[in-house]
C-alpha cells in the first residue's frame, strides 16, 4: 500500500498542475456557486475553450474529436487537480458526460465529426430530455410521441427536469413511437436541435429560488430520421447507456462538508461555550468525518484498481446516496446552530453555504436517480437480488394504468 503516483502518473500530474497554475486561480476556501447566472455561463464557455485549445477538455476522447485518448487514471488525476482550482463547473457535465458518449456510440461518422468537437470546445451545449411529468423514476413510462412521416419524425409531448435546456443548443431525446408495444420496446432515441420550431422551454422555479431545470414542450417538432440514434424500438437500450453515464457524472455532492461543519463548530458559540464542546455535535462530526473519508478512501480504492489496469468494483455506486444525505444533514446542522437567526439571508459565505446545502440537497437526493432507485440498483446489480414484480410487465403500453399525470 502506498499513495504515491508511479513515475508516469507523477509526470502527468505535474503537467496538469503546471498548466492549471498558469491558467486558473487556486481555490481559496468558501467558493460561491453561481450556476445559471448568465455571466457564469460565459465564464464556463471561456474556460472550456481554453481547456480545449490546450488539449485538456475531453482527455479520454479520441484525438479526432478533441481528446488525447487518455487513460481512466489520467482522467482522475486531471479532475483531482482541476478541482483544486476556482473554475466554473456545472454547465457541460450533462453534455460531455452523457450526450457525448451516446453520440460516440450511435451517431454516424459524419455526425460525430460535426457535433463532438464543438461539444468538447464548449461552443455548443447539450441537454438530456428523458423525464416526463408522469415518468420520473419509471422513466420508461414516458409518453411523448414520435410519428414517422417520410424521412422525418414528428414529435409531440412534454419533457421535464431538463437541466440547462434554456441555454442548450442540442439535446438527446427518447420518445414513444409505438404505444401498442410493451413499454420498454416501443421507444426510439434521437438527437435534436433545441432551436427547432415547436420547442418551447419554460424554466422551473426550484425550492432554492433558482432555475436550473426546465419544462420542455414539443408541438409538431420535425426531426430528420438521420438524427435517430440506434434502431427504431431500441430507445430504451440507448437510454440505459446514457443513464449509466449519468450516475458517474452526478457523483459527489458539492457543498458544505465535514471540514466546514468542524471549522464552524469551533468558532460558533453554544450557550456560552464553543459549539464543538457539545456532545451531540461531536457525535455528528465523527459520523460525517467517517462518511466523507469513507467516500474518499473508496475513490482511492477505485483508482488503485484502475491504475493496475483492473476494472473497479461497484463501490462507487454508494457515492451519491451518502454524499447527498450528508450534505442535507450538514446544512441542517449549520442552520440549527444559529437558532432563530438561521432563517435570515446574509452575505456571510459560511452561513450561505449551510443554507444552500439545506435547500439544494433535496434536489440532489432526487436528480440522476433517487435514493430509493439507487438502493434498488445496489440491491439488484451489486447484491444480485431479484427485481420487484411489475404490474405492467408484458402489457402493451397503451393498456398500462396511469394515475393523475
Amino acid at each position: 500500500m502506498d499513495f504515491k503516483d508511479n513515475q508516469e502518473q507523477a509526470n502527468f500530474r505535474k503537467k496538469c498542475r503546471e498548466w492549471l497554475e498558469k491558467n486558473a486561480k487556486p481555490k481559496t476556501g468558501v467558493e460561491k456557486n453561481e450556476f445559471a447566472n448568465i455571466n457564469y455561463l460565459q465564464a464556463a464557455k471561456d474556460w472550456q475553450k481554453k481547456k480545449y485549445d490546450a488539449g485538456w477538455a475531453m482527455l479520454h476522447w479520441p484525438k479526432e474529436y478533441g481528446g488525447i485518448a487518455a487513460s481512466a487514471i489520467e482522467r482522475i488525476i486531471w479532475s483531482e487537480e482541476e478541482s483544486k482550482f476556482d473554475v466554473p463547473r456545472g454547465i457541460f457535465e450533462i453534455g460531455l458526460g452523457m450526450c457525448g458518449p451516446v453520440m460516440m456510440e450511435y451517431a454516424s461518422e459524419n455526425q460525430k465529426a460535426r457535433y463532438l468537437p464543438p461539444m468538447a470546445e464548449g461552443k455548443e451545449i447539450w441537454c438530456q430530455l428523458f423525464s416526463e411529468p408522469s415518468a420520473g423514476s419509471d422513466v420508461a413510462g414516458l409518453r411523448s410521441k414520435a410519428v414517422q412521416d417520410g424521412n422525418n419524425w414528428i414529435i409531440n409531448g412534454q419533457k421535464v427536469w431538463t437541466s440547462g435546456a434554456h441555454f442548450s443548443d442540442y439535446g438527446i431525446l427518447v420518445v414513444r413511437h409505438d404505444a401498442s408495444l410493451e413499454k420498454h420496446k416501443g421507444m426510439t432515441f434521437f438527437f435534436i436541435d433545441m432551436k427547432s420550431p415547436g420547442i418551447e422551454v419554460k424554466p422551473i422555479k426550484q425550492i432554492t429560488g433558482g432555475s436550473s431545470f426546465n419544462e420542455v414542450y414539443f408541438n409538431d417538432v420535425v426531426v430528420p430520421d438521420s438524427q435517430r440514434l440506434g434502431e427504431i424500438g431500441d430507445g430504451w437500450k440507448v437510454a440505459i447507456t446514457t443513464l449509466m453515464n449519468e450516475r458517474l457524472a452526478v457523483g459527489d455532492a458539492n457543498g458544505a462538508d465535514v471540514e466546514d461543519a468542524f471549522r464552524w463548530a469551533k468558532s460558533q458559540d453554544d450557550l456560552g461555550e464553543p459549539l464543538i464542546n457539545n456532545k451531540s455535535v461531536r457525535s455528528s462530526i465523527a459520523d460525517w468525518y467517517c462518511e466523507a473519508n469513507g467516500l474518499k478512501n473508496t475513490k482511492l480504492r477505485t483508482m488503485s484498481a484502475l491504475s493496475k489496469g483492473e476494472t473497479p468494483g461497484p463501490e462507487a455506486s454508494i457515492t451519491k446516496i451518502v454524499s447527498a444525505n450528508k450534505l442535507q444533514d450538514i446544512g441542517n446542522f449549520g442552520m440549527d446552530s444559529l437558532d432563530m437567526s438561521g432563517m435570515l439571508k446574509t452575505d456571510d459565505p459560511e452561513i450561505q453555504s449551510f443554507q444552500n446545502a439545506w435547500l439544494g440537497a433535496p434536489g440532489l437526493r432526487i436528480a440522476g436517480g433517487t435514493d430509493e432507485i439507487l438502493k434498488n440498483i445496489i440491491a439488484e446489480r451489486v447484491l444480485g437480488l431479484p427485481q420487484d414484480a411489475r404490474a405492467d410487465k408484458g402489457m402493451p403500453y397503451k393498456d398500462i394504468p396511469t394515475g393523475k399525470a
Binding site: 499513495f3 468525518y289 469513507g294 488503485s304 484498481a305 447484491l383 437480488l385
Partner: protein, 370 residues
Amino acid sequence: MNLDFSDDQKFLQNEARKFLEKEESIKRSREILDQSSSLDTDLWQKIVALGWTGIRIPENFDGLGLGHLELCVIAEELGRFLAPVPFSSSVYLFTEAVIKYGSEELKKDILPKLVSGEIVGTLAVAEDFMAPSSSNIKTEVLNNKISGKKIAVPDAGIATHSIVVCKSSNGIDLRLIDHKDKSLNILKQDTVDGSRGHFCIELENTPSILVGDEGNGWDLYESIINQAAVLFSFEQVGGSQATLDMAVNYAKERYAFGKPIGSFQGVKHKLADMYVAITLAKSNSYYAAWALSSESSDLPVAAATARVSATKAFQLCSKENIQTHGGNGFTWEYDCHLFYKRSKLLSLNIGSLSNWKEKLVSNLEKSNIN
C-alpha cells in the same frame, strides 16, 4: 496510487479463508456457546501451528517477521468466521504491547513462546461497570506487587499472562503478570456472548514486571489500542460482510406472497444500506491499515475513523440480518445471533462507539486539520 493489499497478502487472506471454512469455525463457535466453555483449544492450536501468532514477531525471535498488513487480512477472515480463539487479546493487544514497549530481555523471554503457543496473553483493563479511564483505575502496584480486581478480561482463562493496567505512585503503569502465580485468582464470568470467555482476575500482592515507562502507562495503553483498533476494524468488516451475505442468500430463497422477499423494496433497501455501511468501513479500514503499516502520524485519526465506521457497520449488519431472517433469525438454531453477539463483543472490547467517536473528534482537534 495503491490502496490495496499485495498479491501475496491476498493469497494469505485466501488461505486463511479456506482454512477457517474447512475447520468449520462458525460451527465451532456455536459449540463453545452450547458447551459453556470459553474457547476452542483445538482451533487455537491449529492457528498457532500455521504461524499466525508470530506474524508480526521478528525472525530472530522465531516469528515470521511480517507486517501489520498481513495481520489485517487474517483479522478480516477471523471476523468473517467468528473464530472462537483469543487472537485479538493475545496478538493485537498483548503481543503488540510486548513488541512495542517490552525490554529486550522481556522480548527474548516472551516473544518466542508466543510464536510456539506456550504463552497466550491478554490485556486487563476494566474494574467496574463503567468505562475505564486513567482517573478511575484502582488496582494498585506497590513494590512491583499488584493488588486489586480486574473484570471482563477477555480470554483470561486460556491466557498464561496478562498485561495489567494499574495505578502506581507516578501515574498509570502497564505491568506483566504470570497467571501461574498463586497470589491470583481467575474466575469465569457470565457474558451475553459465550463464544469468547470473559474473566475476573483477583490479584493480591501479585508479582509483576513493568512494561514501558513507569507512570506513563495510560498513554502507552492508548497507543496500543490505536493500533489494535485497526485490526478490530478488519474483524468487524469481515463479520459485517458475512452477515450481509447471509441476509442476501436468505432474501433470495425465502418466499412470501408468492415471491422472494429480496424482491421487496423494504428488504432491498435495508440490504443496500448494509452494503453502503460495509463499503465505507472497509475503505476506512484500508486507509487505517496503510497508516498503521507506514507508521503515519495520521494513525490516531485513521484508526478512530476505521473503528467508528466498522463498529457502526457490524452493529447495523448483524441486527438487520436478524430482521431479514424474521422469526428464524431470533432462534438459537440459526447463526444470526452468533454474529449479533460477536458484533457487541468486538464493539465493546477496546472501548465503545461513543468512546471512539470522542477519540476521533479530539484527535481532529489536536491534528488541527483545518
